[in-house]
């Protein structure tokens, strides 16, 4: 709705027809524009012309209507006198009412506090024309403020920062001096609106102090000088209240907790006619001070007020996002600690897990090692059991053999002896002798059959002869030896000639023979400390055969033992069966080779050597020089054979 329509009288005098038409149009239009009272000036009518309406809205904050009239006493009259051709209408509005009036454009000017002005300035483009200057203020720039009041006996509330978590009351959420500046003071002390337990807005000024006294609130914001006004009455005692964050009293002598802000402006709205505005301004500025000393001066700088709104993010600055990052961080700092704490926790957990993993890995490894050791032990036991089983089977078998053979043998003995006695006694009848002889023969055959049966019981794998490399056989035997006796020092192997020379032999059988020799050699050294029980294996490759000698440093071979070494059932061991070397001899001879034993004298120990044929005739394998060098380094003349295995070393016994 636009404001009053002012028609210069001069223009109307010349165009009566146009006027009539315009009036008719306006009359039609005025029906829709109800609140608009338009008065057309009759042309040439000097008297009774209708003045344009100037509506001024005056803020009368709640509870101070009386003050307004007192303060601005005479303003309406003055304006009417100053502006005789204008219909000046001054109306007082509540805060909300004035907002609405401004929103709806129902007024041309308003007179309100700085806070309201700032909002209107931003929202509606209002502009201050003059600033009120109250008589009792030194400057219009420092006229508004607030006091933050708490009951005197609240010793826990000493500073503005103590107001965190308290219950606040004020007059009106949009009251600049009565609330917003106080809130700003709190804000600057670090107390945000969200930090308060509650905010309440009471109806009247007296209610503020009453609620404080009654404990219904903890802190109240009173506009500047309200506290002094209220406590000047008998109703309220100044001693019951305390002002927090008190700064130097205002020029009026009122206590305050906030800085002072510019006083009320007289402002125009954007739609207000500029000429009208100028006239009002001139009138105001020319106005002499009232009885109270109130006067008008040039507009102040309202930047501070803007800052308050900006800081509090209220009014025109509400659109700003309420939360900046800094605000967020300030308020939620405990939450911000959570990620680092989580990270630390995670790191700690990872470290612990790592340590646990390491420990478990170590334990696992130890357990695996233990298991391996146990497995090795188990294998050893198995092998031992096997051996014992075989021995007991041997024992069983020998019982069987003994029993089965006893009968025929006994019968043979009886028949034979009987024959001898008969013949010696002169009773040589042929018939009984013949009969006896036949019986003898039969029984001998029966015995032979028993042997056959026993033989077939022992499972014997037939020989599988094939070409096999010398070192393969030696390595295999050594491997088994070391696996069975891990505590033994590894035997030292030396080759004279090509280690890859091929033998014509059953590899398993030869391995078993070598293993047997190695075991015997090792056991011969059982008197020595474990670390000194070193066996030597010398392999010499000849033209047609290969000689492998196993040399130990043990008790050696006295002549009596050496003579019977390969006899079946001959043993020097207390628990020995005495078949080992006898079997070795049979195996080697079955390969077309031979086995011989000799003493190492003067050195301790013995040397058992086997000779095996090579696979196919080769060219000369090792020159005599190499064998001689081997021998020289050896200095065991009896232990090493020359390239030609046939000549035996002195003292050695050969079994061809």
């Amino acid at each position: 709705m636009t404001g009053g329509l002012r028609l210069p009288a001069s223009r109307l005098r010349g165009t009566s027809r146009l006027r009539a038409a315009t009036a008719a149009l306006l009359a039609v239009g005025a029906l829709a524009l109800v609140p608009v009272a338009l008065q057309a000036e009759p042309p040439g009518a000097p008297a009774g012309r209708t003045a344009p309406i100037v509506r001024i809205g005056v803020l009368a904050p709640e509870g101070s209507r009386g003050d307004l009239l007192r303060t601005w006493d005479g303003l309406p009259e003055y304006l009417l006198r100053a502006l005789p051709d204008l219909d000046v209408r001054i109306e007082s509005y509540s805060l909300d009412g004035l907002h609405t009036a401004v929103d709806e454009g129902r007024i041309e000017f308003f007179l309100a506090n700085s806070g309201f002005y700032v909002e209107a300035q931003v929202a509606h483009g209002a502009a201050a024309l003059a600033t009120a200057s109250s008589g009792d203020t030194a400057s219009p720039e420092a006229a508004l403020g607030a006091a933050i009041v708490v009951p005197f006996d609240r010793d826990d509330l000493r500073e503005l920062a103590d107001l965190r978590g308290q219950r606040l009351i004020a007059i009106h959420p949009r009251a600049f001096g009565g609330y917003q500046v106080g809130l700003h003071a709190l804000w600057q002390a670090g107390v945000r609106q969200e930090d308060l337990t509650s905010e309440r807005f009471v109806g009247g000024a007296e209610q503020l102090l009453l609620d404080l006294t009654r404990g219904r609130a903890d802190v109240a914001i009173l506009r500047l000088c309200l506290l002094e006004e209220l406590t000047s009455t008998p109703k309220f005692s100044r001693k019951r209240y305390r002002v927090l964050g008190a700064l130097a009293p205002s020029p009026q002598g009122c206590q305050r907790s906030t800085p002072l802000y510019p006083d009320w402006p007289f402002a125009r709205l954007k739609h207000t006619d500029a000429g009208l505005a100028r006239r009002l301004t001139m009138a105001l500025l020319s106005m002499p001070p009232t009885a109270n000393g109130a006067a008008w001066t040039v507009p102040s700088d309202y930047g501070q007020v803007h800052q308050v709104f900006r800081d509090l993010r209220i009014g025109p600055y509400e659109y700003r996002s309420r939360e900046t990052l800094a605000e967020l961080m300030r308020r939620h700092w405990p939450w911000l600690l959570v990620p680092p704490v989580l990270l630390l926790g995670f790191l700690a957990h990872t470290l612990r897990a790592e340590r646990l993993v390491q420990r478990r890995t170590r334990e696992l490894r130890e357990a695996l090692d233990e298991r391996d050791r146990l497995a090795r032990e188990a294998r050893e036991r198995d092998a031992q059991l096997d051996r014992m089983e075989r021995l007991s089977a041997l024992g069983e078998m020998s019982s069987m053999i003994a029993h089965e053979l006893n009968q025929p043998l006994a019968a043979i003995a009886n028949f034979a002896r009987g024959m001898v006695r008969r013949i010696e006694g002169g009773r040589g009848e042929s018939a009984p002798l013949v009969e006896a002889g036949n019986e003898i023969a039969q029984q001998a055959e029966r015995a032979g059959a028993v042997i056959q049966r026993v033989r077939s019981l022992s499972k014997r794998r037939p020989y599988e002869r094939r070409e096999v490399a010398l070192e393969a056989v030696i390595d295999a035997a050594l491997g088994t030896f070391r696996g069975a006796l891990p505590g033994a020092p590894p035997p030292r192997v030396r080759y004279a000639g090509d280690p890859a020379a091929r033998l014509d032999a059953d590899p398993m059988q030869v391995e078993e023979v070598l293993l047997n020799l190695l075991r015997n050699g090792f056991e011969a050294m059982r008197e020595l400390p474990a670390a000194q029980r070193t066996l030597r294996v010398d392999a010499v490759v000849g033209a047609e055969s290969v000689r492998i000698a196993v040399i130990d440093r043990g008790t050696g071979l006295p002549e009596s033992v050496r003579a019977r070494l390969f006899e079946p059932f001959f043993t020097t061991k207390p628990d020995g069966v005495g078949l080992g070397l006898a079997i070795c001899k049979r195996v080697i001879e079955a390969h077309g080779g031979h086995i011989e034993a000799s003493d190492n004298a003067p050195e301790p120990g013995a040397c058992i050597a086997i000779t095996l044929p090579r696979a196919a005739p080769q060219e000369q394998a090792v020159p005599d020089g190499a064998a001689a060098a081997l021998r020289a380094a050896e200095s065991h003349p009896a232990g090493v054979a020359p390239a030609d295995p046939r000549p035996a070393a002195p003292g050695a016994i050969r079994y061809a």
Partner: protein, 218 residues
């Protein structure tokens, strides 16, 4: 010992035959039995001899045969032939009354010696037995009073002492004593003591050792 008879008891026919061959080579009369039952069925209590019994046989074992023989009162000595490892069995058999045991395989001489010893033993036993029976028969002819006197005489008591012990006159003792000597066909108190030792084992147990010849009661 021409009438001695050797029994060979073994389930192994060949072995049995061979033992028989050997025994006959030195002149023993031999008879074969294939098992314990056959032997027990055939054996008689006449004549001397011995039995060579294999301790392990099917059916009646050697030891059972031994027991059966004792039950029947056969005095034939038994020599057990044992295999290797039957020592415990053999020891038990000896306790049960076997004469001897031989381990197989044996030297022939060992077997022959054992047979000879067994047969001799048997003969001795039989002779003793006969003598015992004869003496018992004579002893049975004595009156109770004469037996009393005989016992006292055998103990070495003088007639006077006997008279006092029995409460009869010395003269009566003299008469009884003569009768005893006559009936028992002996001439000295020592002989009487010996015979009584044979007849009445209780008597021998209570007496100083007079069984050996040349030792007179003190």
């Amino acid at each position: 010992m021409p009438d001695a008879l050797i029994h060979v008891v073994d389930d192994d026919a060949v072995l049995r035959r061979s033992v028989r061959f050997l025994l006959e080579s030195v002149g023993w009369r031999t008879v074969e039995h294939e098992d314990g039952a056959a032997f027990l069925g055939a054996v008689q209590d006449t004549g001397t001899g011995c039995a060579l019994v294999d301790v392990r046989m099917p059916g009646l074992s050697g030891v059972e045969v031994l027991h059966a023989m004792r039950t029947r009162g056969l005095t034939l000595p038994v020599v057990f032939l044992t295999g290797h490892g039957d020592v415990a069995l053999a020891v038990q058999a000896m306790k049960d009354g076997a004469f001897d045991f031989i381990e197989k395989p044996y030297r022939d001489q060992v077997l022959l010696d054992a047979v000879t010893a067994a047969v001799r033993r048997h003969e001795t036993m039989r002779a003793e037995s006969e003598r015992h029976d004869a003496l018992a028969g004579l002893y049975a002819l004595l009156t109770p009073r004469e037996r009393e006197v005989a016992r006292c005489v055998a103990r070495g008591l003088a007639n006077k002492q006997i008279a006092r012990e029995l409460g009869i006159s010395e003269k009566t003792v003299h008469v009884h004593r003569a009768k005893v000597m006559e009936k028992m066909r002996i001439r000295s108190a020592a002989e009487l003591a010996q015979q009584l030792g044979v007849i009445e084992p209780d008597f021998a147990a209570g007496m100083p050792d007079t069984s050996r010849p040349g030792r007179a009661p003190a």
